[in-house]
Amino acid sequence: MSESVKIVEKKHVPSEATMIVGLPDVGLVGLIATSYLISELNLEEIAYLDSDLLPPVVVLHKGLPHAPLRIYGNQNLIAVISELAVPAPAIYPIMREIVEWGQAKKVKRIVSMGGIPVESRQAIKEPQVFGAASNQELLDMLSKSGLNIMNEGYMVGPQALSMRYSINKNVPAIAILAQSFYNYPDPQAAAIALKELSKISDVKVDVSKLLEKGEEIRLKARDIMKRTQEEMTRMKKSQEYDLPLYV
């Protein structure tokens, strides 16, 4: 367990659940998708993350304070979100703690939701979704379910560390990444990522409300997007545009 980050459980945490991770990142795709899941499936807050590595912030909802990094769940599903742009140096211990906690709770698999930045996103009507997995068996499953596989490339940030630590701990992990704007909130990409999630899991939600609320979400998400962009710069997120060399 990481000493600098601790997960405080408030309620019963299910075992054998699928854990979805949606931290602020490219286009806020993971955060928007996971927040929508939480709201549509009425998931309850079951735990939160506490760490001195995070800024001294609480979020008020209906007058009551909440930790910005929270974990929600029901019997089959655990969802991790952050209402705060996670500071780049804190992302390592936070992701390590999330994966180790997931392993202790015997999660079935960890699914990181996120975006792949594309330069001409406004010209794309229907963003494509790509998958990556921590082992060949899972990758074959993604492929059979019709998901495009991200064969070569770099992943940077929360999804990268989720994958890295999951391999270390032998926890099955998947990343679902939708083409999206780099630093504009992208609810459409989030909706499409959720549709793909429903193909590879029993997590199914109707995304029509998310698409309807797209403009409102884009207005509300401007501040967290701006702060997330600063952190993405610090973690050299632009490396995702690079071509890897593997001869």
């Binding site: 996103r121 780099y182 909130p185 403009e215 409102e216 207005l219 509300k220 401007r222 997007m225 701006k226």
Partner: protein, 149 residues
Amino acid sequence: MSEKPRKRSTFDTMNEHLEEFDELADELMESAFPEGPSWNTETCCLQALSNVFITSREVIVTADLPNIEPETVKVEAVDETLIEITAKMKKKVRFADLGICHRQGEFSSLRCQDRVHVAVDAEKMKISFKGGVLEVRFPRKKRYEIEVE
């Protein structure tokens, strides 16, 4: 057998100093130019997210403009390197609409200003608006070609 600790190279030390320097520069910038909110109740404007890309031939400015009337979009060159984009929203947005009840005010437009750092020819700009994102392309002024001998 325990692993021998790796000897720190000059590059490690230099990297550490550079990181410290970066942090210090960030702190200085933050104290010199304190961040304001992303809204202005006096002008009734919300700040739009925007980007600037500079290529060898043109400058591309994009802005995320949700909930606006496309025909109200205005792109102005305040000077040769400062671009201002404004657009009226379809309907006014109050703090209460965003779930905030401890502030008062309403907003009727989105606005952003971007410094492009190179001179552009604003009269030849090309504008497109797709999926709520505005893209403005400006040809760059004063291109010099150096002949290779």
